[in-house]
């Protein structure tokens, strides 16, 4: 095939497959992402929203409002940094270097856990043993809150990462998981460490793993 024939073939193929320009795409994506996270927030409200305290047969626990604000604001700040690092629009179509993404993957869950433990340990009785609260409900809520937005983002960014799709997917999973962490932390009054590990920390690990798989299958451009 001559150069001009190839040129014609490629241009014809592009004409046959409409692609929205920037102004149109931006609004479409923004609406979809807002809807996705609105659905997450509505789910949070449906399960009860902010809860300062909780009760089982063994105990009643009530968190001070200051502690709730402290943990939520600190977690929100860390999550905002993670989201900006992963999705921030630097002047490159190729995203951050892999090392930056892995910093988000490793440091975000550890930072969130450390902050939660640090803040809670300063208030008496916040970290008492509470074995009947295993954390399975928190684990389920985290996945419920975060998996749909993660899949939505992956679909919107399908084929967009030719360099490090798995790392990008994993970092996106952890960053979106941070949003889930904030919401579940507002809902869950328990700061017992095994509960935190199973119900709050493990979901971020799972979302990171899920994000990596999603990245592998959806984010990389594929030869047809």
């Amino acid at each position: 095939m001559s150069s001009s024939e190839l040129r014609k073939r490629v241009l014809d193929a592009a004409r046959a497959e409409p692609s929205a320009p920037r102004s149109e795409r931006r609004w479409q994506n923004l609406v979809r992402v807002v809807l996705g996270f609105t659905a997450t927030f509505c789910s949070f409200l449906l399960v009860g929203g902010l809860r300062l305290g909780g009760t089982t047969a063994a105990r009643h626990l009530s968190r001070p409002t200051v502690l709730v604000l402290e943990t939520a604001l600190g977690a929100s700040a860390m999550t905002a940094v993670a989201l900006f690092t992963v999705f921030g629009r630097r002047r490159s179509m190729l995203g951050r270097p892999r090392s930056w993404l892995w910093l988000v993957i490793v440091l975000t869950p550890l930072g969130l856990l450390a902050w939660k433990v640090l803040a809670s340990s300063t208030v008496p009785e916040m970290m008492l043993v509470w074995p009947e609260r295993l954390g399975l409900k928190c684990l389920s809520l985290s996945v419920l809150f975060c998996l749909p937005p993660l899949l939505l983002i992956a679909l919107l960014r399908r084929g967009s990462d030719p360099v490090h799709p798995i790392s990008m997917g994993a970092a996106a999973g952890v960053a979106v998981g941070g949003v889930g962490w904030v919401l579940v932390d507002l809902w869950c009054p328990v700061a017992y460490l095994p509960h935190l590990l199973l119900g709050h920390f493990l979901p971020l690990v799972l979302l990171g793993a899920a994000g990596g798989l999603v990245g592998r299958w959806l984010l990389a451009p594929r030869a047809r």
Partner: protein, 209 residues
Amino acid sequence: MGTILAASADVAARDGAKTAADAAMERYARGDDDAFGDVYDALAPRLERYFRRHTRDTTLVEDLVQQTLLHIHRARGSFIPGADVLPWAFAIARRLMIDSVRRGSREPLLSEEEISSRTSPLVSREAGGDQVLQARQLAEQLTQALNELPPGQRAAYELIKYEGMSIAQAADVLGITPGAVKVRAHRAYEALRGVVRELGGRQPNEGET
């Protein structure tokens, strides 16, 4: 050994094409449908040369050029203002090349004869037969050494030396930091210099390998 073809004219042409590609892509992203032809004209020849360095299947080369440009077309709406289109195009091309190999388009690498016949001539037209033979042997040995380099070093070297990319652009394509690119490219360069030393040829300067 005769004159090595100067790289400056080639680099200038590449720089001009880079700016044209960025401007065309920006127009295309904003909605100027006709600009895609300019994007094609700026990128397709370089993409084709890149793919031809890795496969001798002309049909595959054409398919990959088409797929790369169609990926760019589909992503027109997400093109970031001020972004560099060249590293992005080469990152897509590299990914598609790797993907097509994994899927079983296990096209044999170009033979050493084919590669050496495509490399820049290392001697002037006035050179004698011995010099031509030496140059060919050197080219074949360098090509083999390049093929035997770890993939990361080879990719960094090719992007900087063959495609004229900056360290920052190569770092973008490979998804690593500029420091890591420098290290890989330097190691590749040292390995190739080692080959030249072994053959007893004169040491190449920056413009020769």
